[in-house]
Amino acid sequence: MRNTYVQFLVSFVALAAAPFVLSLFHLNLLSEILILAIFALSLNVLVGFTGLVSLGHAAFFGVGAYTAAVVAQNVSADMFVTLGLAVAGSFLLAAVIGMFCIKVSGFYFLMLTLAFSQMIYSFIHQSTNLTGGSNGLSGIPRPEMGSFIFGNPVLIFYLVLAVFFVSYAVLRMIVKSPYGQVLVGIRENETRVKSMGYNTGFYKYSAFILAGIFGGVSGALYTYFNGFIAPSDVYWTMSGTALIMVLVGGAGTMLGPVLGAALIVVLETIVSSYVDQWMLVLGLVFITFVVFFPKGIVGIGQSLYKNAVKKKPVYEKKKSRAA
């Protein structure tokens, strides 16, 4: 267990050094990856751990982002206010939508989440006075903390990094807890968990809200990061992208969604400098993973590791003792 903390710390320090190594463009890319990784991690609570495939997660991202934006423009740019209200907004939305959605499962769940998120999208797209409609909201003030302003990309990066590690740690703790084990049980066999006396409805509902809250957090970060938000971030394609990130990275693992987000963003940046057919590439990558690597990047890593271990049993023995 101690080793985990060490590794946690090492990765944090490594990432914190990024601004000294990377160019501004690559640093921005890294910020974006971390934000989308939080988003994918939050979706993973539903898809990976509870077994509820949602195609409407962008609704929470959007509500978090728009709440942070509207509050920053009209009330206060203080980070605690904007982030707090963004969390409150996505919590409320998840609490309302969740009541309906957890009553159904399978494809019906997928469709119902899609329906609700498209309703949110229509609302944002049409309320020109509040949300700027199709033009989006621009010129959003940078987040502040007291008199300190996160005024340049490097500061924003550190903010994103800090929130990312907190979110990762919290989510990791939750899914490793007995509560998280019940969620996994629901994914594997809901009837059995129910017969063991668990109120599965409550567990699913709280997982839905949890996912919604962290979706909102990532949305608020996106607003901080870009100073801009548009309805396209609430459209179902955003939900689809997040779903692809989770599945390509490895659903039901903590690392998977992070790697998925990194892969998709990096791939998109590379591919689209050469060809316009980004969707084609994304589709092919996705199909390849679904057919050949259903456990995602993490799955590939694990099987590579296992193969390596088979060949060197001695090494493995030593290592496991050390751990």
Partner: protein
Amino acid sequence: MKKTWFKLVSVVLVFVMLAACGESAINSSSDADAQGGSGGASGDTVKVGAILPFSGVYASLGKDLSDGMKLYFDSINWEVEGKKIELIEEDTEADPQVALRRVRKLMDQDNIDILTGAVSTAVAYAVRDDVDSNKLPYLASHAGGDDLTRAQRSDYIWRSSFSSWQIGHSMGEWAYKNIGKTMYIAAADYAFGREVSSAFKEAYTAAGGKIVGEVYPPLGNNDYASYLTTISGVKADGVYAFFAGSDAVRFVQQYEQYGLKEKMPLVGSGWLVAEDLRQTIDPAAEGAFASTFWDYNLESKENQEFVKAYEEAYDRRPTIESLEGYDAARIIAETVKSLGGDVSDPDKVVDAMSKVSFTSPRGPIQFDQETHHVIQNMYITETELVDGKTENKVIHTVDQVKDPGQ
């Protein structure tokens, strides 16, 4: 345990993937102000970045803008004042966040000197702050949202295309005098549609006309039958419609199919009967009146030369977006020329750009020093049937229309 090790390795991998040889973010962000933006202008090339949608809903507009630019740059051999012009195009996918990513790439990696493009207004608004704080001269070549040259105005942003206000307002007075005293408004429910129709309303009611009703179908609405049935129950002298792209095709076609064309003339913006849509709409577009800032059939010498050159190069008719690209390229070239090829100082670049004026295929154009928006002629066209095909004909000119800037 192995997962966390794996994580560590992957973090390192990400670094390796991203690690660039350029200067680190810490440095570039701290002296961004002192240095004055992206000016990697030294050397013998002028780098022009263009953010255009090459995929997604607006892909055809992006292609036309790009072709228009290339036509002009071809005509000057990609060279001004001994400097090579390098055009770097990036696909925005009509998604503002993607566009922002691309603009950052253009600024930080390619060190462009001048930015142009943006079809969707949301994209222009999205990149506005980054362009402004990095002092990157930006010539908006399509996006028409009013605020870009009003509340969102920036020293470094100039617009050569149009504003929603110019499009809608120029039709108001003419419609009152020539169509009638009452009009019904139908416009797509998004910012552009709302801005254009409210500018029309402003001018039309100021002239003395009365709006008897309004309806705003959602953007991308797939069937107008219900709205058209509603409209046919209304008594008005005409219908003012703002739709573009596939919406325009469906609306104009169904307007005829539901028998409204015989009852009330259709009035709108140039996009309702745009050059590339009309071959699809045919012949339902006949009889429509539209306000625009360029038309294929403008009779000026400049326009005929442009049309001829474009058709020879691409074997298809230019659209209004082709013209926008062509003009944007020329404005950039003239700017570089007046600076003697030295584009290293962004303030001098925008200053030089502000003074550019010439007779474009669309007529004389110049920049409003106050708003940074183009001052241009607006034209009223009527769509006619010529040999079984529809053609727009310019029937009225509103000289030198200037956006009020607020």
